[in-house]
């Protein structure tokens, strides 16, 4: 039996080719994801190893009670520590050197006059010390004063600067001319980060004006034990009276921690990519299942013969599974190659963007094993149902000529599908209703579960829906392309299971696209209405680095064309109620002059009065107030390393645009924030009387220009800028979903090609009674388009319906408007038609080339 099975694979390799290709695509994605992750790990490990070569590090003690509530920063919150500790520590026995790490953000203007940004990687400045073993000047000289700077080798390349060039730096919010004096080698690829070296004094003055730094690196003498040194350093710190706020960590632990953080982050990326790999494998499984269902049917008589000469059903069953395993193994092996090819392409693409990835493309045993096993398991599972059917057909029935297709009832399927769909819809409706009645209810996970139920239900129901939906979709074709439309309709509805599983690839892809496009359109519309409702400013000024340089703020505020310029700063503080015993929470707060509200910005006040901010009272976001149980009049203690403010809650507001828990007046904010002037995230500008918007804009744009990274936008531009960020995210999603469309095309090609083989006699007959080649090709194209459009319509319907529930559930997260982007949906339908025509090309040509006589006399 094994011989029979293997001979068959060889004989039908072409027929199985598309199944193999489907496995290849899915496995490529999986293998590529693993390889990419491995490579990213190596790259970042190298950076960690190159960046943390110290034997001991001093840093702020971890504040276990305070976790960042909002924002992207992962890990614990740490205080800063006094830089002078470096001197104390360098006296410790066995310590060669202790350096305070003066570092912070910087903007470097490259040779082309724009800010240097390596593919979204950070840009920061470091104090140069000739003693620092992580950085050595490889060319030129180290910077000696504020008029000089050095660059990491690759950063210099990316900036297009050579030694002796003078350029602009935006340091500590001020514009600063400096000359490049040297290049610094850090011993590893910095993954696109722009690293600027300043002299010690300049860096210390800029990044530690209060003498506080986040870390101190300690280098031991040769042959000193890490752990012993750490203990001694710790003792010295305690002796200096800073034991409770400063902790000493060994270099090994520090590197380990950094690596763990990176691994966690890469884990998210990996999960995200694996989801798409999973979708493509799932979709590929339908192709394999279809292929086997059809080949099994064609070989029914062969199986009957095998059964007649004594093969058991189990033997027939396993002979088919052996073939599936071969398909899976071949696909898996090619998929590994494909994945590595994919990663090579990604590596060179990243390299071209200035983000070099370290390390060779890795081939790990686990990756190979997982990929192969995945390919084989997916194939075997997909082939199991058709194989079982083949094995159970009684030999006599299978021998009979023209035995009709076993048309199993769709009733059970219909019931299961309806139950899943009903349960899913119920969960979605419950989530929406609950969210609508109770703003603070978190119903996202219920919605997610419901969505899965609805999608699974729709997949199960698809064959039941196929006949009626396809009849409607085919109506234009049957009316206008007689009799081809009717023939095509007959072909796609003849086996609804097959058509539905062929269409399911597109269905899944289009479901996600439909949901994403509704979500994106709604988000954009919500942003627009939020900004239009809340912003009273003529211009909105922001910075690419997140913080508007202080120099830009003062320059713009001083312009005669500017009537009002309200700077809004952002920082995070510890907040607690003095009356409560709860640990303080780390919350984000905005700081601005109280007059900002009503002048350049307006929000809905739920309780109290925003004007109370001028008395130093605090405004709290409604969501936060509800969660914390704060009311107007409650006393809050807001503290930072710099100071403490105790003030009552003066107002509770609700703003979708200001996404921070607290808003404080500028005086209180400045007393808390270490560098309030450097924390301006947004500057709201209104024209002076008699100055029109164009005049204002050109004046402000001119003033902002030297700062390179500062953008000046009116409300419309501000909104479209926000919208284009959403579009960018959507583009990535579309690119990944493009994969499911590729697989969908493969699936349709596969089904059509096999059904052409299956229908050879019928095609011969129709050609004999006068059907032309073009007419035959058109019929197949219509079949293909119908299948593609069926999947698309079903997918979009499910996706849009699910996404329509989102604004209610996530209304309090700023998603207020529901917009259905009909234009995009129509585009998707057009794409489906194109996909259909493309997929039909090869099978149609094959069918048209069938010799009539052979086709009509074939067995």
């Amino acid at each position: 039996m094994l011989k029979v099975a293997l001979r068959n694979v060889r004989a039908h390799l072409v027929r199985l080719g598309l199944s193999i290709l489907a496995v290849v695509l899915g496995v490529s994605f999986v293998a590529g994801t693993f390889a990419l992750r491995e490579m990213l790990s190596t790259t970042f490990d190298n950076i960690v190893d190159a960046g943390y070569v110290g034997d001991v590090y001093l840093r702020g003690a971890e504040d276990s009670s305070a976790m960042v509530q909002t924002g992207a920063s992962a890990g614990a919150v740490r205080n800063t520590i006094p830089a002078e500790l470096a001197e104390v520590v360098s006296e410790v026995d066995g310590v060669e050197l202790a350096l305070a790490d003066f570092t912070g953000p910087i903007t470097l203007v490259g040779a082309d006059g724009t800010a240097v940004a390596g593919g979204g990687a950070p840009s920061f400045a470091v104090a140069y010390s000739e003693l620092d073993p992580t950085a050595t000047v490889s060319q030129g000289a180290a910077p000696t004063d504020s008029s000089e700077f050095a660059l990491e080798v690759r950063s210099a390349e990316a900036a297009g600067l050579t030694i002796g060039d003078t350029t602009t730096l935006v340091v500590g919010g001020e514009l600063h001319e400096a000359t490049l004096t040297g290049l610094v080698d850090m011993g590893a690829s910095m993954a696109g980060a722009t690293i600027v070296f300043l002299d010690q004094a300049t860096a210390a003055a800029t990044y530690a004006p209060d003498g506080l730094v986040s870390t101190i690196s300690v280098y031991g003498e040769d042959q000193v034990d890490d752990q012993a040194l750490t203990d001694r350093v710790h003792a010295a710190v305690e002796a200096a009276g800073a034991g409770s706020t400063v902790e000493a960590v060994s270099g090994t632990d520090m590197r380990e921690e950094a690596r763990t953080d990176i691994e966690t982050m890469l884990g998210f990326v990996e999960t995200f990519l694996l989801i798409f790999a999973g979708i493509s494998l799932f979709v590929g499984a339908f192709i394999i299942s279809n292929t086997f269902a059809m080949t099994v049917r064609q070989r029914q008589r062969e199986f009957a013969l095998l059964r007649a000469v004594g093969a058991s059903p189990l033997q027939v069953f396993s002979s088919i599974l052996v073939q599936a395993a071969v398909v899976g193994a071949l696909g898996g092996a090619l998929g590994i190659a494909g994945g590595l090819g994919l990663v090579t392409a990604i590596k060179s693409m990243f390299g071209a963007m200035g983000m070099e990835l370290a390390g060779d493309i890795p081939i790990t045993t686990s990756m190979v094993v997982i990929s192969l096993v995945l390919g084989i398991v997916v194939s075997i599972v997909s082939a199991a149902v058709p194989a079982r059917r083949a094995a159970l057909v009684p030999p006599v029935e299978a021998m009979r000529e023209d035995s009709p297709a076993p048309a199993g009832s769709l009733r059970l399927r219909g019931i299961i599908g309806l139950v899943a769909l009903g349960a899913g819809t119920g969960a979605v409706v419950a989530a929406v209703v609950q969210a609508a009645s109770d703003d603070s209810a978190s119903t996202g996970s219920l919605l997610g579960l419901g969505a899965v139920g609805v999608v699974v239900g729709a997949l199960v129901l698809a064959p039941v829906l196929a006949r009626p939906v396809l009849t409607v979709l085919a109506a234009p074709f049957t009316a206008w392309a007689k009799p081809l439309g009717k023939l095509a309709q007959g072909n796609v509805t003849r086996n609804p299971r097959r058509t539905a599983s062929t269409a399911s690839a597109l269905m899944i892809g289009m479901c996600l696209v439909g949901a994403a496009s509704v979500l994106a359109a709604s988000t954009q519309a919500s942003m627009r209405s939020v900004v239009e409702n809340e912003s009273l400013a003529d211009l909105v000024i922001q910075s690419a680095s997140g913080m508007v340089p202080a120099g830009a703020v003062s320059d713009i505020s001083a312009l005669p064309e500017v009537g009002v310029a309200d700077a809004v700063a952002l920082d995070s503080f510890y907040v607690s109620e003095p009356s409560s015993t709860d640990d303080p929470e780390m919350l984000y707060a905005l700081g601005s002059t109280p007059s900002t509200f009503g002048r350049t910005w307006q929000t809905t006040t739920v309780d109290g009065d925003l004007a109370s901010m001028s008395d130093g009272e605090i405004a709290v976001q409604e969501r936060t107030a509800t969660a914390q149980g704060w009311e107007v009049g409650d006393i809050l203690t807001v503290s930072s390393q710099k100071g403490t403010v105790t003030a009552p809650v003066g107002a509770i507001f609700s703003s979708a645009a200001l996404d921070t828990p607290l808003v404080m007046d500028d005086v209180s904010f400045d007393s808390l924030s270490a560098a309030a002037a450097d924390q301006v995230t947004i500057l709201l500008v209104k024209a002076a009387d008699g100055v029109d918007l164009d005049e204002l804009k050109s004046a402000v744009t001119a003033a902002a220009a030297p700062y390179v990274i500062v953008s000046v936008q009116d409300n419309d531009e501000f909104v479209s800028d926000l919208a284009s960020q959403v579009d960018q995210m959507l583009t990535i999603l579309y690119a990944l979903l493009g994969l499911s469309i590729v697989i969908a095309i493969l699936g349709i090609v596969n089904t059509l090609a096999l059904s052409v083989i299956e229908r050879t006699r019928e095609i011969g007959l129709m050609r004999a009674v006068g059907l032309g080649r073009a007419q035959l090709a058109t019929t197949i194209a219509i079949e293909s388009v119908l299948t593609a459009v069926f999947g698309t319509v079903l997918g979009l319907a499910v996706g849009v319906a699910l996404a329509a529930g989102l604004p209610t559930v996530f209304g309090n997260a700023g998603l207020t408007d529901l917009v259905i982007p009909w234009g995009s949906l129509v585009t998707m339908l057009v794409i489906a038609v194109v996909v259909g025509v493309l997929a039909a090309a090869w099978p149609a040509i094959r069918a048209a080339r069938l010799p009539v006589l052979e086709a009509v006399t074939v067995d």
Partner: protein, 257 residues
């Protein structure tokens, strides 16, 4: 559009003619001559049967006449059109407008109803359906109450009668039938053959049928006998007995060689 003449059938003009027809499969020493130089005329308004043992070339002759196969040498003319020199496009058009086909099995498109199957050639050619003619044909094959059924809901005999109706509905010059009763029981066979004969007698249709069944052949006006790619005998107004007799003598001749 050439329509068979309504005048009384003239037995002298041929509706289809082959001259020096040779069909060779393979090359050199392995070449097989399916047809070794056949000259034949199929009379207008006649029912002609072609008989012969397996491998005698009877099916090949019919396929070449019908433009389904291209002869190696020789010419085929159907209703004044030279079939043997036509390209694929012209052949498709010829099949669509001038010829009717009935095959041994798998004659119908399973996704279409009986009526849709009958009008399929007209629909493909985008020609209007002659309602009166359609009604006459449907009535003649006795399928009036089965028109909305799918092929899978019809018996084998009924399916072949639908195929006959389909072959006749476009008023072709010639109907080619390849073993039309090969898969049928004797009752159904009689129905189909009676219908084919009456289409000739009453509708002036010309029919060419390949068969190996002497009873089926006896429904024809004339029987041609093929052996080894040549026409070796001919019989007018056959009966099953006379057909068997000729077949028997051919077998004896062959055995004697």
């Amino acid at each position: 559009m050439s329509v068979p003449p309504a005048s009384p059938p003239s037995r002298t003009t041929a509706i289809a003619t082959a001259r020096g027809l040779v069909k060779t499969y393979g090359k050199g020493s392995t070449a097989v001559h399916a047809l070794a130089g056949v000259d034949v005329d199929f009379a207008r308004g006649q029912f002609t049967a072609i008989m012969g043992p397996s491998g005698s070339g009877k099916s090949t002759l019919m396929h070449c006449m019908a433009g389904l196969d291209t002869p190696t040498e020789g010419t085929v003319v159907v209703d004044d059109l030279t079939v043997s020199s036509m390209n694929q496009r012209q052949l498709t058009k010829l099949r669509r407008t001038q010829l009717g086909f009935i095959f041994q099995s798998f004659n119908l498109v399973p996704t279409l109803t009986a009526l849709e199957n009958i009008t399929l050639p007209l629909d493909i050619a985008r020609r209007p359906v002659d309602k009166a003619h359609l009604a006459a044909v449907v009535k003649a094959v006795g399928l009036s109450d089965r028109l909305s059924h799918r092929p899978s809901e019809l018996s084998g005999g009924q399916q072949q009668r639908v195929a006959c109706a389909r072959a006749l509905v476009s008023k072709p010059s010639v109907v080619f039938a390849d073993e039309p009763t090969g898969n049928l029981d004797s009752v159904s066979s009689r129905e189909v053959l009676t219908f084919l004969r009456s289409s000739v007698d009453e509708l002036d249709q010309s029919v060419v049928m390949v068969t190996h069944d002497p009873v089926a052949a006896s429904y024809a006006h004339r029987v041609l006998f093929l052996a080894d790619g040549l026409i070796v005998a001919e019989l007018a107004e056959p009966t099953p007995d006379t057909v068997l007799e000729v077949l028997g003598s051919l077998t004896r001749q062959k055995a004697a060689v």
